[in-house]
Symmetry: D2
Subunit: 141 residues, 4 copies
């Protein structure tokens, strides 16, 4: 399963060249992860942080900028899980305009206790099956 | 030679966890490259874009988040050139708090004609020696 | 008629105090105006700028911050037109959480020719009736 | 006395029209106030929030956009205090390019206890004389 989220490129995302200013994509990825937690996994960030006392700090980020986008463009951000580690999670997010892949991001995050500032194991009881539902299938590669 | 640029982490860079919101580092890298062009290479972005009709679109970005930073922290952003291709340039930027490396970025940019939207060779006449002055030396590795 | 637009407050909008960082509301107002032009008036910003060669520079902005918002809050941004001048337009945008008004903005923009950088009269042929449809009624005051 | 702070307009501040995106000025005002607290008043935001448990929420903001700025422009942000209330403070910040006033902001902030979320009186013991040193003189008007 993938999590698909359409997002309209806004005037505010674009630079004097009229195309998306590249750091804005990293903000958009953050929005997609926030949306995925709320809508896909059923745990919004407020619940995650305030009730569960968990956070998902970014460990590593890779972004490939393949084709420019302009304001008004409607992109579909498609997220899936690439790897589930002991306490870490690797995500891939592609931003598509129709069939064209404009930008691809790979994000490695860690599930962490925000009080003890320590990684938290991704156990079978709650998180692992939730994340596994979005695991990329071999045939999709 | 490296290009070193101190930057104070601001309140506006930080998220509800009190630490730098990770997309802000990408904006800070953009500032460092802008500063390097103006102060290090002697070509400010206005001259680059308007007079020389050149741009430096981002092709690939990698960021490793090694330790959190808080507002008020003074970081030194240290930039050097890792590789000079035919029309592309690979940069490395480390954000240090004293000796501690907090964040490391690798940026691959391309020198491009902004009217024809085409890569422009990095020639010996102007750009190559400028970039080469900041090339990372083997012993630094 | 008012233009109503729900917007979820995001993690990225909030500061270390956990509430919306006040400049983010100005960005949100910009989004609401962009959405209003596209959805309410039927002229998206791309058409406005590229085809009609018009822009709407901000002349004056007033924002009252009445109550804090946190990420996860769902606000309704309610826009209406307060005054239509010769070439200028005064808008009011209220951000509501249910019945509670959290933030109120007043924006004075000008319709301008982006090539000649000159104000353009708001004529009966096109813009005036469009804007007038969102004019605040006396009884609403 | 005024607090003067030069700031270079950056590529990241500008929109597809090539001029400063108007919400960015509000972020720049926030930076100027942060700089003023640290450099002018001798209390950086970290000390203010963490040690003194005080905050300065924005109550009202007014911005007049008088002339556009482009990236590369060097603006001087000139701050002074307009009025000191019981627990509130009114500031004026002008952004000048040489003698030309490009943007003028008026900010009303409140000194507040961030634990009790209540206004804190601006007493003679500490804050009032500090703020008063930047009070606009009648002849300056």
């Amino acid at each position: 399963m993938t999590y698909d989220r359409p997002k309209r490129i806004r005037f505010a995302h674009c630079d004097p060249a009229g195309i998306v200013f590249y750091p804005r994509y990293v903000e958009l990825f953050n929005e997609v992860v926030e949306d995925w937690f709320a809508d896909g996994l059923g745990v919004d960030f407020h619940t995650l942080h305030e009730d569960m006392r968990l956070g998902i700090p970014m460990v590593k980020l890779e972004v490939e900028y393949l084709a420019p986008s302009r304001y008004g463009d409607l992109l579909t951000f498609r997220l899936h899980v690439v790897e589930i580690g002991n306490a870490s999670l690797q995500l891939e997010i592609g931003a598509f305009a129709g069939e064209q892949l404009r930008v691809r991001g790979r994000l490695k995050i860690v599930l962490a206790d925000i009080d003890k500032l320590r990684p938290v194991p991704i156990t079978e009881e709650f998180w692992r099956p939730k994340f596994a539902a979005y695991l990329k299938q071999p045939e999709q590669k």
